[in-house]
């Protein structure tokens, strides 16, 4: 009989498939990567084609410090997830909050840069092609950082309420996949905008 | 032969110019191959449907459960790949020949600018500006004299399509394109805009007049003249120049030099108005000026709201613009 009916499904031994959460997050990351790719293509396509206005070389300043913040937040979130797996709740919370702080610092840095670009150099989204593509790309990324921070804050709240334990570590891993993705996107955006684009 | 089975002035199977001919030759080749594939595969389908249908008394017997066959599947992978290779080689040759054709020194240069919903034609070396009706010389295959069009757009995307003369090419703002044709027969060839460009896309018609060398030379000469000035038309010219007409229209040699609408210097040399939407008759001219929406609703020609006297005068003036 090939369609056997088992009273205990777990008894069909050894049948282990991937975790739904990780597969779903991988799917989301693939989809988001496609969106970012299109914005990056637009940015690269329009490099040097602005008719007027400030050029990248004239106005961009490489945000080394804030980039370091964001990238090290990937480290902190990684270790936070490991800490939770090892049931070290307080270490988890500390590293988690540090991640949030580093991410927020990055956003602050982006805000600072935009302020400088708009008020000192007159680079707005409508100034020229560079303005449009720059704000769209960096803005899209910042939006994703913000969304990530919101989710991190929710988890932090649960942790402060004492509800985060070892059993939640798989979900935290899924969330940290998203955070790593946001960082990876920044590596690409950084390279395209601040390295190649000048 | 195929071309005359369906009487139509825009039949892609009735080419009269090298690009259209090359396309037809390639397309017949493609049609032949696809026809063979169709006959073979649908024949097999028909055969299977007839031969392997359930017959009475078959109900309880299941046929042999065959899961696949490596040989057969390999064969029907390799054969399509070969067909694709052959088709591709034939096609690449034609793409290159048509698109990368060098422009010979005696070619006629025309700049076509697409507007919502009319065509502007400029002949830069001849100093001619006209609209909607293109005149080009016939090309003798022994000594070809092709016309090369540079395609530009003033607003949205358009597409220049005169099926019997060439395949279509789009007019896209900020993206100049090139199209050439060498019509081998005199006559009038019809076409229209093929890329949806807004409300009146359907009435952005094309009329290409292929002229013998003498007729073409005469046409060029006439177009190069400034506008005729005729005493009868003085009143109408005054109305024309004192209302909004000159904001959009040019009449060479007068104070009217608007560029938004068609050049009217030689309006009477055209068989149609409103880019083919109506015949060029005084009645239609009158209607077009006063109530353009009755001919081409939502075109960008505004209703001029002239009094009857002014309207008559302007039409009389237009009638003198030969």
């Amino acid at each position: 009989m090939s369609v056997m009916t088992f009273p205990f499904p777990e008894a069909a031994s050894g049948w282990k498939l991937h975790s739904r959460g990780k597969v779903a997050m991988a799917g989301l990351i693939i989809a988001e990567s496609a969106i970012f790719t299109i914005f990056v293509v637009a940015y690269l396509f329009y490099l040097g084609k602005s008719g007027t206005g400030p050029t990248p070389r004239e106005v961009l300043e490489t945000p080394v410090f804030y980039t370091a913040c964001l990238l090290s937040s990937s480290l902190t979130i990684h270790f936070a997830a490991k800490a939770l797996e090892g049931n070290r709740g307080r270490l988890f919370l500390g590293l988690w909050l540090l991640t949030i702080a580093l991410g927020s610092l990055f956003l602050y840095g982006t805000g600072q840069e935009w302020r400088r670009l708009i008020y000192q150099h007159g680079l707005t989204i409508s100034a020229n092609l560079f303005g449009t593509t720059y704000y769209a790309l960096v803005g899209l990324h910042a939006f994703h950082v913000t969304a990530g921070l919101l989710m991190l804050l929710i988890v932090a709240t649960f942790s402060l309420a004492g509800r985060m334990g070892m059993k939640q570590h798989k979900r935290v891993e899924v969330l940290s996949m998203y955070w790593h993705f946001v960082d990876a996107v920044w590596v690409v955006v950084f390279t395209v905008v601040y390295v190649l684009g000048r | 032969m195929v071309g005359h089975a369906f009487a139509s002035p825009t039949n892609i199977f009735a080419p009269m110019s090298t690009p259209a001919h090359s396309i037809l030759d390639l397309s017949l080749f493609v049609l032949a191959i696809t026809a063979i594939i169709f006959i073979v595969v649908s024949g097999l389908l028909l055969y299977a449907v007839v031969k392997f249908r359930t017959r009475a008394g078959d109900e309880d017997r299941e046929p042999a459960q065959v899961y696949g066959s490596t040989q057969i599947e390999t064969a029907w992978t390799i054969i399509p790949i070969l067909i694709v290779v052959v088709l591709y080689l034939a096609t690449a040759r034609v793409i290159h020949a048509l698109q990368d054709a060098p422009e010979p020194p005696n070619a006629l240069d025309v700049i076509a600018i697409g507007h919502q919903y009319w065509w502007e034609f400029r002949y830069p070396k001849l100093g001619i500006v006209t609209a909607n009706e293109l005149h080009i010389p016939v090309s003798d295959p022994a000594r070809p004299m092709p016309t090369f069009l540079q395609l530009l757009s003033a607003d949205t995307d358009h597409s220049f399509w005169v099926p019997e003369l060439a395949g279509k090419t789009d007019l896209i703002p900020n993206h100049p394109n090139r199209l050439w044709m060498d019509p081998q027969r005199t006559g009038v060839f019809l076409g229209q805009c093929a890329q949806y460009c807004g409300v009146q896309h359907a009435k952005m018609l094309l009329r290409v007049s292929v002229d013998s060398p003498d007729v073409f030379a005469a046409w060029v000469h006439d177009q190069q003249q400034p506008s005729f000035s005729d005493a009868r038309a003085a009143a109408g010219q005054r109305v024309f120049e004192q209302t909004a007409c000159i904001n959009c229209h040019t009449v060479a040699g007068t104070s009217a030099n608007g560029r938004f609408g068609p050049d009217l210097t030689h309006l009477m040399s055209r068989a149609t108005i409103a880019s083919g939407a109506a015949q060029n008759t005084p009645e239609n001219l009158r209607l077009w000026i006063q109530e353009p929406d009755s001919i081409k609703p939502a075109s960008l020609m505004p209703a001029m709201k002239l009094s009857d006297t002014d309207l008559d005068a302007v039409v009389t003036y237009m009638e003198t613009l030969r």
Binding site: M1, S2, V3, M4, T5, W15, L17, H18, R20, V23, A24, A31, A34, T37, I38, S50, G51, I125, S126, T132, A136 | F6, S8, P9, N11, I12, I23, L26, V30, L31, I37, F38, V41, S42, A48, V49, F52, R53, D58, P63, Q65, Y67, T77, V84, Y88, A92, D100, L151, T156, D157, S159, A166, G167, K168, H175, L190, Y196, G198, V199, H201
Partner: protein, 557 residues
């Protein structure tokens, strides 16, 4: 095998208040109910978009007709295309996928039931938003109306200068919203297929429908998203003063085209792959043989998925790309014909040597095979770029893609309806009405779309609200219109069949077609929990092995 072990007989449910039932349906997270919601939603929009098509056809019945103004006509063809693709075909395919995938892989539900519900409601909202445009606020020239920019919304026609008011924004936002719903469903299907299969169901033992929905969902992830990105860019242009597609600032109309077609071409494979899935389940059952060449069918579909990402600019052959680019897209567009053709041959191979039963699902399947073959061949004609310089933007293209979508996908969908309706409702659809539906539709379809090819060959461009007499298009267009009405009648017969059979149809039982995949092991309709105990499988056709223990598939795989 006893059904008792698979289902727990339902107890007596006392009569429900209608509000209760409505509430159940509105808050459901059950994949079967969501599937039915998607399908019902799509049928509603099918009728709406069908009426739009009939308006188009009556207007074009003869030259210089004036049933509708050009403004209305332009809205009609824009809404017809947008509705059919995003609010008819995609939802109905997601509906069938939702219903069938968990059942066929022996799971109780999708991986994320609540996300599933969210996706449906996002799609539903998108459709309502699009149609709200008819009522939406007025703008300049009364332009606060339904979008009229064509379903591709080419720049710069969508710039504020050329599309004042909000009509284009309804197009943009409706599709952005429903696009996110589609992406979520794609993620859900992938997670379900990869993580929820019952024990023993290796990927190589999955029904082809599950495989094909997996590939389709993967495509959704990387296909819908470029459209979303382009739409965000369009919104930035229209509302934040951006210049992505602003020619005056150096922006490129062609860039929009690239982004749109990078979505647009794989999108049509997203639409056709589930149709292939239906055929791969139905043709074997009504030929009484397993699918011919299962591994190659999977490989060909995956190949189609990949190659489909490389052909997009064959929609742009007239745009003025270099000869090298045109040649590249010619070859890729021809290459994709190879795995597609292979699939047709494999279905033929399945029928070959079989014992074909001409029930309604099979009638539509045979129609599919014949028409999809023709559609593929006219596709090859257009893949040859120079030929396309004549065919593109004409009614030949319109005929081609309707051949694929109506002659191919809709026929496969009708087959799927007749095949799985018994499972979903417990009643058989009437074979008599089904036969009427089939023949009326086939005749109408061919009258319309065979003749339509000719109008294109005679130079008739697309998207024109009227045409000149003397072009030779009048009689042909009249025939096309008559065929459209015939198809309309056939659809009404179909809808009547759906409704009448729900109340009066013959009771179906678990397995009316003597089929072989897991959904036929449970009752019709299935219980809410699908399977009382999760099955364990050892071959691709678990029920075949049950019914033929002397010759199980597991021996040959």
């Amino acid at each position: 095998m006893s059904t008792n072990a698979m289902t727990i007989p339902a107890g007596n449910i006392e009569g429900r208040v209608w509000v209760d039932t409505l509430h159940q349906w509105l808050t459901t997270v059950d994949h079967k109910r969501l599937g039915l919601l998607y399908i019902a939603y799509s049928l509603l929009f099918l009728l709406v978009a069908g009426v739009e098509a009939l308006v188009i056809r009556v207007q074009l019945m003869h030259s210089h007709n004036n049933l509708v103004s050009p403004q209305v006509f332009n809205r009609m063809f824009t809404m017809h295309g947008t509705t059919m693709i995003f609010f008819v075909i995609m939802p109905v395919l997601f509906g069938f996928g939702n219903y069938l995938v968990p059942l066929m892989i022996g799971a109780r539900d999708m991986a994320f039931p609540r996300l599933n519900a969210f996706s449906f409601w996002l799609t539903a909202l998108g459709g309502l938003l699009l149609y709200f445009s008819f009522l939406g606020g007025s703008g300049l020239y009364g332009a606060g109306n339904a979008p009229d920019v064509g379903w591709w919304a080419y720049a710069p026609l969508t710039a504020r200068a050329f599309s004042p008011g909000h009509s284009s924004d309804y197009w943009t936002l409706a599709l952005l919203v429903s696009g996110f719903g589609s992406i979520a469903t794609g993620i859900n299907i992938i997670a379900t297929v990869l993580c929820m299969r019952c024990p023993g169901m290796e990927l190589s033992r999955m029904p082809l429908l599950a495989w094909l929905y997996l590939v389709m969902s993967g495509l959704v992830l990387i296909t819908i998203t470029p459209l979303s990105a382009a739409q965000i860019m369009l919104l930035i242009d229209r509302y934040l003063g951006g210049h992505f597609f602003d020619a005056q600032a150096g922006g490129s109309a062609v860039l929009w085209m690239h982004f749109f077609w990078i979505f647009g071409h794989p999108e049509v494979y997203i639409l056709i792959i589930p149709a292939f899935a239906f055929m791969s389940e139905i043709v074997p059952v009504f030929s009484r043989k397993p699918i011919f060449g299962y591994p190659v069918m999977v490989a060909a579909t995956v190949a189609i998925g990949f190659v489909s990402m490389s052909v997009w600019a064959h929609h742009m052959f007239t745009v003025g790309m270099s000869s090298t680019s045109n040649s590249f897209f010619t070859i890729t567009s021809m290459v994709i014909a190879v795995p597609t053709g292979i699939k047709i041959f494999n279905w033929l191979g399945t029928m070959w040597g079989g014992r074909i039963q001409f029930k309604t699902p099979m009638l539509f399947s045979i129609g599919f095979l014949f028409q999809f073959l023709i559609a593929g061949l006219t596709g090859i004609m257009q893949a040859t770029a120079p030929f396309d310089w004549q065919l593109s933007l004409s009614y030949f293209v319109v005929a081609h893609f309707h051949y694929v979508i109506v002659g191919g996908i809709m026929f496969a969908l009708f087959a799927a309806f007749y095949y799985w309706y018994p499972k979903m409702t417990g009643r058989m659809l009437s074979e008599k009405l089904g036969t009427w539906h089939f023949w009326l539709f086939v005749i109408g379809f061919h009258l319309t779309f065979d003749v339509m090819h000719v109008t294109g060959l005679l130079g008739m461009p697309r998207r024109i609200y009227t045409y000149e007499p003397g072009r030779g298009w009048d009689t042909l267009n009249l025939l096309v219109t008559i065929g459209a009405f015939l198809q309309g009648v056939a659809i009404l017969v179909f809808v009547a069949n759906l409704v009448i059979s729900y109340f009066k149809g013959e009771r179906a039982g678990n397995d009316p077609w003597d089929a072989w995949t897991l959904e036929w092991a449970v009752s019709s309709p299935p219980p809410a929990y699908n399977f009382a105990t999760i099955p364990v499988v050892t071959s691709r056709r678990p029920l075949w092995d049950e019914k033929h223990p002397e010759d199980p598939d597991s021996r040959y795989e």
